[in-house]
């Protein structure tokens, strides 16, 4: 895999990882042992027939390979880019025991990109069933449920509150990791299956709960979009953002092109980001591209950083300064942010997650000069709609309770993706949506 540049000064939003060539794809696919009992598939939440598609790539049958993937995954160009393959299919690859695993993600991406250039084909759909299903949210969960249900022959309407479909794929993950024209192309495929996407419809407000429940079945894929704030002093100063707001301004509203686009964003000469996950890395790398000196503060140790290793590497290569074992305690400033006061953390006994518990060291406070402070400390399920459906049981953090089929405690209402699991991954959202779509199809056929 070739990163477009490992230099410090990145100012554009072009994709960093440029993918692999056709020759390299075939060469890579030929490394596959075509195991009798393939373990890679067990590592895939949507169960793609990985050995089959890899063999097709090895034989140069790229069209066949992408058709194989699309039987189980309608968003291959997206997943090939953002899935944490190292902990899924590639993590389970036998070759990985002694050498590098087959680069399944790069192959998936390659064939999906190849198809987009050579004309996209649609998988088959069943005859119309005459049943109507409503899907709320057009993130990976909603899109997957919609595509599956449409293929089963049901009439699907997706409601999306924003003016563009895609959920986090559109407003959260930046262009340099996931170009928006790719997201749009894959969403177009879902629409071509007959799915109607109604943008600018906030269910719970533009569509009443009763209107929603008038469909034969409902799938909730409303995600985990509620940003948490640290609750520290100075958090409402000008220049303090949630990662969601910062990323939305840039990715969805194109604030990087202000004033040609109308939405502004504080660019910041010195930006401090708090958090250690992929969201924090994305925010830091965007801030870097807007021209700031960027410091990322994380409360645990370097080896505990939850972000993907490749993202940490990219962030560093682009000049993001990572400070571990530190935590912001106050934002300093009068009207605007002037500095972030942090405290050093020491690692104590292991906590429930098996990681050492950080605790602050007294009188270790220090200041980092900053004019923009971005909090990327996690998100919870968006409470708006679920709170309007009181029959829905919710667990601790507000996650909607579902059974193995994605069935909620409300009849005919299913849920999947981040709203049920809490902030997770694209592919887990898709996997749970697929299961729910199959269950919805079963109840609709039984009646």
């Amino acid at each position: 895999m070739t990163a477009s540049r490992a230099v410090r000064e990145v100012r554009d939003f072009n994709e960093v990882n440029r993918g692999i060539s056709a020759e390299n794809a075939v060469f890579e696919a030929l490394r596959c042992l075509d195991c009798v009992r393939p373990t890679c598939v067990t590592g895939c939440p949507v169960g793609i027939d990985i050995p089959a598609f890899v063999q097709q790539v090895a034989a140069g049958d790229f069209a066949g390979a992408v058709a194989t993937i699309k039987r189980d995954n309608m968003l291959p160009a997206i997943c090939g880019r953002v899935c944490p393959q190292e902990s899924q299919c590639e993590g389970a690859c036998i070759l990985g025991k002694n050498e590098k695993p087959v680069s399944i993600g790069a192959l998936e991406r390659f064939v999906a990109d190849w198809e987009r250039e050579h004309g996209m084909t649609l998988p088959g759909t069943a005859a119309p069933s005459g049943r109507r299903v409503a899907v709320v949210g057009s993130g990976p969960a909603g899109l997957t449920a919609a595509a599956e249900l449409a293929r089963f022959g049901h009439a699907v309407t997706v409601f999306e509150s924003l003016h563009e479909a895609g959920g986090v794929l559109t407003y959260g993950i930046p262009n340099f990791r996931l170009p928006k024209e790719i997201v749009r192309a894959e969403i177009d495929q879902v629409k071509r299956l007959g799915v109607e996407i109604r943008l600018n419809h906030l269910v719970g407000r533009s569509v009443s709960p009763d209107e929603l429940l008038s469909y034969d079945a409902v799938f909730l894929g409303t995600g985990a979009g509620l940003p948490y704030f640290m609750g520290i002093e100075g958090e409402n100063l000008n220049g303090v953002y949630s990662a969601n707001e910062f990323l939305t301004r840039v990715n969805l509203m194109h604030a990087d092109c202000f004033p040609a686009f109308d939405t502004p964003v504080k660019r910041g000469c010195n930006v401090v980001v708090v958090g250690g996950g992929n969201v924090a890395m994305d925010a830091a790398r965007v801030a870097r591209r807007l021209g700031g000196e960027v410091t990322l503060v994380y409360r645990r140790r370097e080896e505990d950083l939850p972000a993907r290793a490749v993202e940490i590497e990219n962030a560093r290569a682009e000049g993001v300064h990572i400070v571990c074992c530190a935590n912001p305690v106050r934002v300093v400033g009068e009207k605007n942010v002037q500095a972030v006061e942090c405290v050093r953390m020491s690692m104590c006994e292991l906590d429930e997650s098996g990681r050492p518990k950080p605790s602050s060291i007294e009188e270790s406070n220090f200041l980092i000069e900053a004019d923009v402070f971005i909090e990327a400390i996690g998100q919870g399920p968006n409470p708006l709609l679920v709170s309007m459906l009181p029959q829905l049981d919710r667990a601790q953090r507000g996650n909607v309770v579902v059974d193995a089929d994605g069935q909620t405690t409300l009849a005919r209402v299913y849920a999947g993706g981040d709203v049920a699991t809490g902030a997770a991954t694209v592919i887990w959202a898709m996997g749970s949506a697929k299961k729910a779509a199959a269950a919805i199809d079963r109840i609709l056929r039984k009646e």
Partner: protein, 281 residues
């Protein structure tokens, strides 16, 4: 695409649009707002739903910057890229007894729909419309038709009572029992006016107008401090108990992009987007 069904100028720099948006119009209640993205490069800005009729909603706004300046140039038959709504919680309307609905400046836009619902709930409704001068006053006839009593105030005395809405409110509170008050207007006006009801312990609602992005509770741009807690105005509000609101923090956050806003309008002028006519007025 959302069709402009009617466009009109109501006062100096104040405009009104009727826009076809069935999913908004059919669900809209007093106190709610919508978010408009005028065109492909546009910003998402919140505007109060001032009335609804069939499949259309009315918004009234003052041309203060790039987006509102652009909206002021629209004519019947033009289209807007995106409208989402109704957003926010509806006003807490019930039978209180005697209620006072106060609008300041362009904030008067929000008052007829509140006054009407309050009236329908069986309240005695007193309206107060305050503006800087008589040329800026809007919706007087509409409010007069809904309210049991209506007071007009102007800062310069060019119409109605010379003075602020707060003074009329103070007088009313002294003279009779007032059960609930709504105040909609600029933050500073809401702060000052709601201080008047505080000693009387009268339930007072204000409609907060922080800077928003999505309006659905996913960014936190609109966070305000109410009773010491952080609330998202777009989903927890926009109406809150006035006596709990930290207005100073609201006003400070409203100024977050003053420099960028200037740059934006300048860019717009030199970009020749056709709205300069309205801005030079």
């Amino acid at each position: 695409m959302y069709l402009v069904e009617e466009a009109a100028q109501l006062a100096d720099r104040v405009f009104q649009l009727w826009i076809r948006a069935p999913q908004v119009a059919r669900h809209a209640r007093a106190g709610q707002f919508l978010i408009v993205r005028a065109h492909e490069n546009g910003e998402r800005i919140p505007l109060t739903i001032s009335a609804s009729r069939g499949d259309a909603v009315r918004v009234i706004f003052m041309a203060v910057g790039k987006t509102t300046g652009y909206l002021s140039t629209l004519k019947k038959g033009d289209v807007l890229s995106d409208i989402v709504g109704p957003l926010g919680k509806p006003s807490e309307i019930k039978k209180y007894g005697t209620v006072v609905v106060i609008g300041g400046g362009v904030g008067i836009a929000s008052t007829p729909i509140i006054a009407r619902e309050a009236k329908e709930a069986g309240n005695h409704v007193i309206g107060i419309c305050g503006s800087r001068n008589k040329d800026l006053l809007i919706l007087e006839d509409e409010m007069a038709a809904i309210c049991d009593e209506l007071f007009i105030t102007t800062d310069d005395g060019s119409k109605g009572i010379h003075g602020f809405a707060a003074s009329v409110l103070e007088q009313l509170l002294k003279e009779r029992k007032i059960d609930c008050v709504w105040i909609v207007g600029p933050a500073i006006m809401m702060k000052v006016t709601s201080n008047v009801t505080r000693p009387y312990g009268v339930r007072t609602f204000v409609s907060l107008n922080p800077i928003m992005v999505d309006g659905t509770g996913m960014c936190g741009s609109c966070r305000v401090t109410v009773g010491g807690e952080t609330k998202f105005a777009c989903v927890d509000g926009p109406e809150f108990d006035a006596h709990q609101v930290d207005f100073d923090s609201l006003m400070q956050r409203q100024r977050m992009y003053v420099d960028e806003e200037k740059a934006s309008v300048e860019h717009h002028h030199h970009g020749g987007c056709g709205c300069c006519g309205s801005e030079q007025r």
